[in-house]
């Protein structure tokens, strides 16, 4: 496999997003440098009362949005709904890159990043964090196994593909289990702070809330991403099958609807069961943000998605997916930052370095997605899995870097 000559003029052709990305990455690299040379105190606004900030909050968001990796895999491979086949590879790739961002952010956030490997052999099985760490490690392995055939296919290495195919169902099942565990465990992290986390969010059902909301948001992310792909890659050379597949997406949107309704009912049950309804009438920042989270992230999308017409309409589907993602963003940040602000007694706002490092990692992940999508057959059509089409350029093309 030879590397295609890099088309320098093509790469250097400035576009708005290219310039923005380069700026973000350069600034982010500087921030990263400062972070590792100056320490956390100098570069972040974290302090004793606010030990976790934007980075941890963003980890929650990233993991929540990467949830499509297991839901779609389960839909196609476990529930045998092969209609959704074209979403599997993008979802797995998204999940993998999402987790990579999360892991990088975690390492940046660790006070002693050079000790990051300690959990491998220093165990405390009572810690939720320990469970999450191991689930993350195992699930990333699963994602790699799930994506490996795509890579091997390209280099025409057939033997391992056979093995991978043979174990694919157990691998998917294990992946779903690990995902279930760590998605909900991110909620369990906060079970230990009943006195600190605002009761609007604290609940013994926190893990279940996290699990249900990640399903809706993960699928929405895949919908949103399909639009991004259609917008960014369709007209570019070297990509195919990037168009919107509305029939599949509206099917996924229906699943989002169900997950959102389940989440809402669960919330209502939780509020009634633990007698927290009165909290909804206390005017405070927390209450307003809670309302915003529910209205934007749950009620509005439920309303929009319950109309078949809107579900099948590109524009509204796009808007709805943005709503659901916004809802998840609000929810995760509310749990990890807003809900704890009152008990910490100080108001926290992320520092410049915190923001720029986060942005940099997102940009790098998008770039990585593009690169992988360009070189491997990530976007496939429905029949692909069963009859490999001749036309597949991505599979036979030489590797390109641009």
């Amino acid at each position: 496999m030879k590397i295609k000559n890099i088309n320098v003029s093509e790469i250097l052709k400035p576009t708005f997003w290219k310039i923005t990305s380069v700026i973000i990455v350069i600034v982010g690299l500087f921030s990263t440098y400062f972070r590792f040379t100056q320490g956390l105190g100098a570069t972040t606004n974290l302090q004793d009362t606010v030990p976790w900030g934007l980075w941890i909050g963003f980890d929650f968001i990233g993991v929540g949005l990467a949830a499509a990796g297991f839901t779609i895999a389960a839909t196609v491979h476990i529930f045998n709904m092969h209609k959704y086949e074209p979403l599997v590879r993008p979802a797995i790739l998204t999940a993998f890159l999402g987790y990579s961002v999360v892991v990088c952010l975690l390492v940046v956030d660790l006070g002693r990043p050079e000790h990051f490997y300690h959990p491998l052999y220093m165990w405390n099985i009572h810690s939720v964090m320990f469970e999450i760490t191991w689930c993350l490690i195992c699930y990333s392995t699963v994602l790699l196994l799930e994506f490996a055939p795509v890579v091997l296919e390209k280099f025409n290495i057939k033997a391992p593909i056979k093995i991978l195919k043979a174990i694919s169902i157990p691998v998917v099942i294990i992946g779903v289990l690990f995902s279930t565990l760590h998605q909900s465990s991110f909620g369990s992290l906060y079970l230990i702070v009943p006195g600190k986390l605002h009761p609007l969010w604290y609940s013994s059902l926190l893990p279940v809330h996290f699990y249900v909301s990640c399903i809706a948001a993960g699928l929405s992310m895949i919908i949103f991403e399909s639009f991004l792909i259609a917008r960014g890659l369709t007209k570019e050379e070297g990509f195919q099958n990037t168009g919107l597949k509305m029939n599949i997406l509206s099917g996924a949107a229906f699943a989002v609807l169900i997950a959102l309704i389940a989440g809402l009912l669960l919330k209502i049950y939780d509020f009634i069961d633990s007698g927290k309804l009165y909290l909804l009438t206390i005017p405070s920042t927390e209450t307003y943000l809670f309302y915003l989270e529910i209205l934007l992230g749950t009620i509005a999308p439920i309303y929009l998605l319950s109309h078949k017409k809107l579900r099948e309409n590109k524009k509204w589907l796009y808007i709805t997916s943005i709503c659901v993602i916004s809802g998840l963003i609000l929810n995760r940040i509310n749990v990890s930052i807003t809900g704890l602000a009152a008990s910490s007694g100080v108001s926290y706002f992320p520092s410049f370095d915190e923001i720029s490092i986060t942005l940099m990692l997102i940009v790098l992940a998008i770039f990585a997605f593009r690169l992988v999508a360009k070189n491997f057959a990530v976007f496939i059509t429905e029949e692909h899995e069963h009859s490999v089409s001749e036309k597949d350029i991505a599979k036979t093309k030489p590797i390109t870097i641009s």
Binding site: F36, T37, Q38, G39, L40, G41, A42, L46, Q47, D48, T49, P51, W52, A74, H77, I78, F79, N80, M81, L106, D109, L110, G111, R112, P113, H115, F116, H118, P119, M122, W123, N124, H126, S127, V128, M129, F130, E131, T133, I169, I173, V176, L177, T180, L181, S184, S188, L189, L191, I192, V193, P194, G195, K196, S204, P207, L340
Partner: protein
């Protein structure tokens, strides 16, 4: 095995002299952090503070919980409870996730934000001194016996006796005996504890209980989920197959 040791702090006896503050700094080789010890607060260089509330003085330090939240959440086991009951920390293990700070119900652990090799900092009940046969510096230095160090069962007995013998002098509660599952630092006070900045309304059960309830479900989720998914796979595959067979039959 050593007997479980603890500290009893009696607000009514504390004169706010600051001896324990200074002794703690000295015993732990901590730099000076404030001109006026009464205005200082817990930090990576201050494990023990004395706060003034009118004419009362309250000590704040790690409560050395019986089932410490900080210990249970630490994924690498950097925080452990010794056989004497002290909750100690091992910086060589710590990866710096700061979950212990988030989890502690008393908001005790502090972090060395200023360095690139930061450590969690908090009172360790002078574990080193104790293993050398000494008693914690703060207890040793106290001129008025406001801070007592001793066996837990004896301290509890003393506390109970004081409450009983002087019901007017004391607010009838031993703070730290049951809060968040109880700990090895007990506090007596003439006024309700929230007036002295102690965190009120902590649950009686230990904090790790809350997580344990969720963690206990993991095995059943794994087993149940595995069976469910396997079953679903088999079922839907079967269904598709039947549908296919039927279709091919119809076509013939």
């Amino acid at each position: 095995m050593l007997k479980e040791k603890g500290i009893l702090f009696d607000v009514t006896l504390c004169i706010g002299c600051g001896s324990c503050y200074d002794a703690c700094k000295e015993a732990n080789n901590l730099p000076k952090t404030s001109e006026d010890f009464l205005k200082d607060h817990l930090s990576d260089n201050t494990f023990n503070v004395i706060e003034q509330y009118d004419d009362l003085y309250a000590r704040k330090m790690c409560m050395h919980c019986n089932e410490p939240a900080c210990e249970s959440v630490c994924l690498v086991g950097a925080i452990t409870k010794t056989s004497t009951g002290a909750v100690v920390y091992d910086a060589d293990k710590c990866i710096g996730c700061r979950y212990c700070m988030q989890a502690c119900p008393h908001k005790i652990p502090r972090y060395e934000w200023g360095t690139t090799t930061p450590r969690i900092r908090k009172c360790n009940m002078c574990a080193e001194r104790v293993s050398n046969g000494l008693i914690p510096a703060c207890a040793e230095s106290c001129p008025n016996e406001a801070t007592l160090y001793g066996d837990m069962d004896q301290l509890i007995a003393i506390a109970k006796r004081r409450l009983q013998e002087n019901p007017d002098k004391y607010y009838q509660h031993i703070y730290g005996l049951e809060e968040a599952g109880g700990g090895h630092v007990l506090v007596l006070s003439p006024v309700p504890f929230e007036q002295l900045g102690y965190i009120p309304e902590l649950p009686k059960e230990s904090m790790p209980e809350f997580t344990k309830r969720a963690m206990e479900k993991i095995p059943s989720v794994v087993v149940g989920g595995g069976i469910f998914l396997g079953g679903m796979y088999w079922l839907t595959k079967r269904k598709n197959q039947i549908a296919k067979e039927e279709r091919s039959k119809n076509e013939n």
